[in-house]
């Protein structure tokens, strides 16, 4: 371990043909810290963690895991990492216990310890009562939890979770988030990628905002929000919005950013009280029908909007 850091990723680069998926990503994670990579789909999150996990050959940069250089061929650092891929990676025709036992063997866990640890992990992910059922019979949320359980099995120093709540029902999602909080409280370092702002805010000690293969900003929630000053976010649900409407809205004084998303407009403004009447006037002038208006305090989504000019869901 170096400087209390479990992971140091420096200047990671990866291209696929002409596409520069990751362009010099740098971050580090300390012991017991939960670090979030927050960005939309295609931002470079999965490519970054594939390089961190030694699954993908990087074009440039360095990954040190517990002080050891991680490459696709080095095995020792992989003992210290627990990878939970975005897509489910479990054998559906094996039971939860069999899936866990299989990976326990791949992590060279002693037999006696493995049996005990499997029971513990099943408890943590809430699958003890279904441990001997084939995972093909599980709900989506249960499969996700087993997917996470496999990553925890060998007590890694760093748990890497790649969008673990995608496609999960709210109840299972909450169970997953509670599990991550529990692990973090026990001192496990966590690298968590997501495009859900609420998850990043709830779980992460520090967040790296990533877009187009670059980390645009990094810090605690407070530090990131301070980047955009005391700005408010106005969300307007409206019909009949076109490019001319957007141009006029962007031209209003005090309006920092306007981003259309799924029938609504996200506006980042310095003073909602002053900007809202002006925005309504512009919309009315363009014949747009407004059905709802919400004014919100600054959050990470607003930070993302400020830094990239687009919403997380774009």
């Amino acid at each position: 371990m170096t400087n209390g850091r479990v992971l140091e990723a420096t200047e990671l680069k990866k291209s696929f043909g002409d596409i520069h998926a990751v362009r010099g990503v740098t971050f580090h994670i300390g012991v017991g810290e939960t670090y979030g990579l927050l960005g939309p789909n295609g931002a470079g999150k999965t490519t970054s963690i594939s390089m961190v996990s030694g699954l993908l050959q990087r074009d440039g940069g360095e990954v040190l895991l517990d002080g050891q250089s991680m490459t696709t061929t080095t095995l020792a650092p992989k003992q210290e990492i627990g990878l939970v891929p975005q897509d489910l990676a479990i054998y559906p025709d094996l039971t939860a216990r069999e899936n866990l036992r299989f990976f326990g063997h791949l992590y060279s866990m002693p037999k006696a310890e493995l049996s005990k640890r499997i029971d513990e992990v099943l408890e943590v992910v809430g699958l003890s009562d279904r441990a001997n059922d084939r995972s093909s019979e599980y709900s989506g949320g249960m499969k996700r939890r087993l997917n996470i359980g496999i990553g925890l099995l060998h007590r890694p120093k760093l748990l890497v979770l790649d969008e673990p709540t995608v496609g999960v029902d709210p109840q299972s999602r909450n169970a997953i988030l509670e599990s991550v909080e529990h692990l973090s409280s026990e001192g496990m370092a966590v690298l968590y990628t997501t495009h859900y702002m609420e998850e990043a805010e709830r779980l992460c000690d520090r967040v790296g905002i990533i877009d187009q293969g670059e980390i645009k900003a990094e810090g605690t929630r407070r530090e990131l929000i301070e980047l955009i000053g005391q700005r408010d976010r106005i969300r307007i649900t409206a019909t009949g919005v076109n490019d001319a409407t957007l141009a006029d809205l962007r031209g209003l004084g005090g309006v920092d950013n306007v981003s259309p998303t799924d029938g609504s407009l996200d506006m980042l403004v310095s003073d909602a009280g002053a900007a809202l009447p002006e925005a309504m006037r512009v919309l009315a002038a363009h014949g747009s029908g407004v059905s709802s208006v919400t004014v919100e305090e600054p959050d990470l989504e607003a930070v993302f909007l400020h830094l990239t000019g687009k919403a997380l869901r774009d």
Partner: protein
């Protein structure tokens, strides 16, 4: 090694839990062996149709034919019925004995016994049997006619001929076989089918097992394994061992089942075991290669069927290699099936020892090595790209 075994164990476990593959791997091969043995390998007794008219000679011919152990006589009322039966293949050949045969012979005319056969099959052999029976039945009548033509009293000649007939040896047809028999007489009816179907199904099972490898990749399991402290080489070895065990178990099963159920002999045990092990390695190598090349299991399944059946046909699993032309033999040597079939042919039909089939085993080892090497190279690239 523990990791290799763990990966292989999971491959085996998943295989055994798939009931459809269990049918194709364990039930179907035995059914096919039984079918082939029943159709082609049993005690063969060709069916000869006989439409015999009235009269002592006609009755005598029919009686002589029925007395032949090597054929089964089926009687017909009319020549038309007999002809139809031959055309339809219900009988291999037919004999039509006209009503006027006796009277024709009595007045010194030539009597015609009709022989009808299909252009294929055992017609020529049956013709020999029929000729022998006709000659035996007619010779007494012909002797009387000869005596009468020389001036003897017809009644006295007939009485004399009847008296000496039992002491005169019948016309016999001797069959002389030149050269060595392709298939020794000691071979059981299931022996040819068992070894050739063993080779066909082991390879097919190997190839279709490639679908499980592709599923592993699609499930993200191969990539996830690569994320553990497990080298790609170990993952490959484990997957290959899993395929090998499945194919090998199928081979052992077919050998044991055909031995117990049909009394099939497999020749020298060491030679048979060596052939089985190396051909299982070939099957595992083929599975790894197909699993590494194709993107989805539907593609792989289609290729598995075509390649499995095609190579089996060219390699002697559908026609004994002893019957191959020189050209076909030269082509067949490019298939692993040929070498396995040839090894089993030497063991089962020619009492070969392990040493005798070393060239065949060497060829199989070469096939296994090359397939595995190409598959490993390809799979490394696939895993690297999947990351």
């Amino acid at each position: 090694m523990k990791k290799v075994l763990a990966i292989a164990r999971v491959a085996l476990l998943r295989f055994l839990r798939d009931r459809s593959t269990v049918f194709f791997v364990f039930v179907l091969p035995i059914g096919i062996v039984m079918l082939i043995g029943a159709q082609f390998g049993g005690d063969f007794s060709p069916r000869l149709g006989v439409a015999a008219g009235d009269g002592p000679v006609a009755t005598d011919i029919a009686t002589r034919l029925k007395a032949e152990d090597s054929i089964t006589v089926i009687e017909f009322e009319t020549e038309d019925e007999l002809l139809l039966a031959v055309e339809r293949g219900n009988v291999s050949a037919g004999v039509s004995i006209p009503d006027d045969l006796d009277s024709a012979l009595a007045i010194g005319d030539t009597g015609n016994v009709g022989f009808i056969s299909r252009p294929d099959g055992v017609g020529p052999q049956l013709q020999v049997v029929v000729s022998e029976a006709v000659a035996g039945a007619a010779e007494q009548e012909m002797a009387v006619r000869f005596a009468v033509s020389k001036g003897a009293d017809p009644i006295a000649a007939a009485t004399a001929a009847a008296a000496v007939a039992p002491t005169i040896p019948n016309l016999t047809v001797e069959t002389i076989v030149e050269g060595e028999s392709l298939f020794p007489a000691s071979m059981g009816q299931f022996d040819i089918g068992a070894s050739s179907q063993l080779v066909l199904f082991m390879f097919l099972t190997g190839l279709t097992g490639s679908a499980a490898l592709i599923q592993s990749r699609h499930l993200g399991m191969t990539t996830r394994m690569a994320g553990t402290p497990t080298s790609v080489r170990t993952i490959m070895a484990g997957e290959a061992l899993g395929r090998f065990i499945i194919v090998f178990l199928q081979g052992i099963y077919i050998m044991a089942a055909t031995t117990l159920l049909f009394g099939v002999g497999w020749g020298n045990p060491l030679g048979a075991a060596g052939t089985l092990v190396l051909f299982a390695a070939v099957g595992a190598g083929a599975a790894m290669l197909v699993g590494a090349i194709f993107r989805n299991d539907q593609q792989a399944g289609g290729v598995a069927i075509v390649a499995g059946i095609g190579l089996a046909a060219v390699g002697g699993s559908m026609l004994p290699i002893e019957l191959f032309s020189d050209t076909l033999l030269r082509i067949a040597r490019f298939t692993p099936h040929y070498w396995a079939n040839d090894a089993f042919a030497q063991l089962v039909r020619h009492d070969a020892s392990l040493v005798d089939i070393l060239p065949q085993l060497g060829a199989l080892a070469g096939f296994a090595f090359v397939l595995m090497a190409i598959a490993s190279w390809r799979m490394r690239r696939v895993i690297a790209q999947a990351g």
